[in-house]
């Protein structure tokens, strides 16, 4: 912007004005990064340093001890915990089952609704649609009762299955299916493809981008579940990592294994943040498309 042409008294002021957006954005970035930085630093110090409230702004030497202890051991200085290794596994299984399950059952039902005509079609469509209005949180207690009656407490099935009905994903796929040209379907019919062949050979490959995009946001949705796993898991072996952290913190007294908590927090953030950063394109597409 500012070059030889805008020389004179103007250019300095002009340059400062050009800087304002950068300054605001950098402040924004810092506000979002600061807590993470503190946590990263904290995870490299010992519990006492953190507990005294005198955490330095530079890394300490306890990183290996903290991470390896949190990763595999079931107790710290002051209490016993579920090892991160196990909790990560639980979170991973839950997030993957929810993401894959939601995509699978949604794409099948969207296929049925978009490509077939049958009695009660709209009834089913509206039934799925209604689920969009009721997040699990608002019907949590009765849903919990159903899961308890089915004996699914403390199981992966109980963690995932009640969450995999998805109106959003169904609507998204249906929307996409409606854009597939009729002639493409007819060409496939003439080539001899029946409905299942068409689904697997043509529709599924064409839906790749949509599947990838949905997968990213559904994985994060699943990973970040809180109230539901809090209710349906009692055994420490079934704890997900997000729940695990708040259990470790308890009432937040100063005398806590803060070093382990911070290491655990870092490990809890890593998978979903990695997914967002490395699959940014899919992530944004999934987020924006699924809200259309």
């Amino acid at each position: 912007m500012s070059n030889e042409h805008t020389a004179g008294p103007h250019s300095v002021g002009r340059r400062l004005i050009d800087l304002v957006p950068h300054i605001v954005l950098i402040v924004g970035v810092l506000i979002f990064a600061f807590p993470i930085y503190v946590t990263l630093i904290g995870s490299t110090w010992d519990a006492a340093t953190i507990g005294r409230g005198s955490l330095p702004m530079t890394p300490g030497g306890e990183a290996w001890t903290n991470y390896s202890q949190a990763w595999s051991e079931s107790h710290g200085e002051r209490a016993s915990y579920t090892p991160v290794r196990l909790m990560l596994m639980n979170s991973l299984i839950m997030a993957l089952s929810i993401a894959v399950g939601k995509i699978a059952i949604s794409i099948l039902s969207a296929y049925a609704v978009a490509f077939f005509r049958f009695p009660l079609r709209m009834v089913f469509f509206w039934m799925i649609f209604i689920t969009l209005m009721l997040p699990v949180e608002v019907r949590i207690i009765p849903t919990y009762k159903v899961v308890a009656d089915l004996g699914m407490i403390d199981s992966y099935a109980g963690l995932a299955i009640p969450l995999i009905a998805s109106a959003t994903a169904t609507l998204l796929f249906r929307q996409f299916f409606l854009t597939i040209p009729d002639e493409l379907v007819e060409a496939a019919k003439i080539d001899g493809a029946g409905p299942l062949r068409f689904f697997f050979d043509i529709l599924l490959p064409l839906s790749k981008t949509n599947i990838a995009a949905l997968f990213v946001i559904l994985f994060i949705y699943g990973w970040n579940q809180y109230l539901w796993p809090l209710l349906v898991t009692n055994s420490a072996d079934m704890e997900t990592i997000v729940i695990g952290i708040t259990k470790m913190i308890g009432t937040g007294e100063a005398a806590n294994d803060w070093n382990l908590i911070m290491a655990t927090t870092v490990m809890a953030m890593l998978p979903p943040v990695a997914v967002v950063v490395f699959m940014q394109r899919w992530f944004i597409k999934g987020l924006v498309d699924s809200e259309k």
Binding site: E186, K189, I190
Partner: protein
């Protein structure tokens, strides 16, 4: 290779009858063009042959087999669509091979058939590309390749050239003609472009509002249109149609202005009968004698280079088009005496619009 017979085929969408009973037997290896204005039911008829649309009444017979209740895949036909309908995620090779794979043709056979089709269509260099990496004309060729490799009993084309620009369309038209001559596969070809119809067809079926107005060779359709509709649809600029009356002796036909045009074959039985008189613009000539003709007032002259179109008006106000070869020999405001070439008069019934046969 096979014959395709369409026997009194009908199609209704609810109360609306889109096809009102069409009959035609297409010979083995024949190229039949379905021609008609938009919405006349060409695609519907073709899609009933393909099995993409259910048949409300009548029969479709392919190779001697009634196919009414067969799925498209069991009818032994291949189809080329206007928008190509290529599978976007498959390579050119896979697009062509897909139908064969589903039918369980063995790999070596698939490869040799695709290779052969690719050679015919000059697609050899593109076999590994995706459709999105091809030009419109190349995509069109892949769509044809997909039909060819199947070696079907019949090809069905639904306006395959409509998405191409004018120059490419002409080029592909010639290619399709060559291809069909070479392969000799029975073909049904839908278009609303009369030039395509005239150049490609062995026979043309002219459709209007779900009925066959005329079935005949391109020349028959041009020279002896069976109805006012065909007369107006085929030929460019369109045929002049005037209200006229057969003279009392049946020897000629009287124009509104009073001029008498002699008939090639007298119609004594039709004496004094009002008729619609059709004369093609290219069959009108300036009459040097000025005898028995009406003076035409020239309103507009379009010089197209090779020929000239004159927009004129008869004394009673009827418009009249005249097409002459060469450069214009008149200008606006001139009065011309014009007369039709002998034997170039078409007579139609005023009520039904059907041709009055000689």
């Amino acid at each position: 290779m096979a014959t395709v017979e369409i026997k009194n085929v009908r199609k209704s969408y609810g109360p609306v009858e889109a096809i009102k009973g069409i009959d035609i037997a297409i010979q083995d290896g024949e190229f039949l063009v379905l021609l008609g204005p938009s919405g006349c039911g060409k695609s519907t008829l073709l899609r009933m042959v393909a099995g993409l649309e259910s048949i409300t009444g009548g029969q479709v017979v392919i190779g001697g087999r009634v196919v009414n209740d067969l799925e498209p895949k069991d009818r032994d036909i291949a189809m080329v669509f206007q928008n190509y309908a290529l599978y976007p995620h498959m390579s050119v090779f896979d697009n062509m091979a897909y139908g064969l794979k589903i039918r369980g043709v063995d790999k070596a056979e698939i490869e040799s058939r695709v290779a052969k089709a690719a050679e015919i269509l000059e697609l050899g260099r593109f076999l590994t590309r995706r459709p999105s990496q091809l030009s419109g004309g190349q995509r069109q060729r892949v769509a044809m390749g997909r039909a060819i490799v199947r070696e079907p009993a019949a090809f069905l084309f639904d306006e395959p050239l409509s998405n191409l620009d004018a120059k490419l369309r002409t080029q592909m038209r010639i290619e399709i003609k060559r291809l069909q001559d070479r392969l000799g596969i029975t073909s049904l070809y839908v278009t609303h472009d009369q030039v395509e119809a005239m150049t490609l067809a062995d026979r043309v079926l002219v459709m209007n509002h779900g009925v066959a107005e005329q079935i005949g060779t391109p020349l028959e359709v041009y020279q002896r249109p069976a109805s006012l509709f065909v007369a107006g649809f085929i030929g460019s600029p369109p045929m002049n149609v005037l209200d006229a009356v057969i003279d009392p002796s049946g020897q000629g036909v009287m124009m509104p202005g009073g001029a008498l045009l002699p008939l090639a074959r007298p119609r004594p039985n039709d004496a004094n009968r009002p008729v619609k008189l059709g004369i093609r613009p290219e069959h009108l000539a300036i009459n040097e004698d000025g005898l028995d003709t009406s003076p035409v007032l020239v309103e507009l002259v379009e010089a197209l280079g090779a020929d000239t179109v004159v927009y004129g008006r008869l004394p009673d106000g009827e418009p009249l088009l005249i097409r002459m070869s060469g450069l214009p020999s008149c200008t606006e405001g001139d009065r011309l005496a014009v007369a039709p070439q002998p034997g170039a008069l078409h007579l139609f019934d005023t009520a039904t619009g059907r041709r009055l046969e000689d």
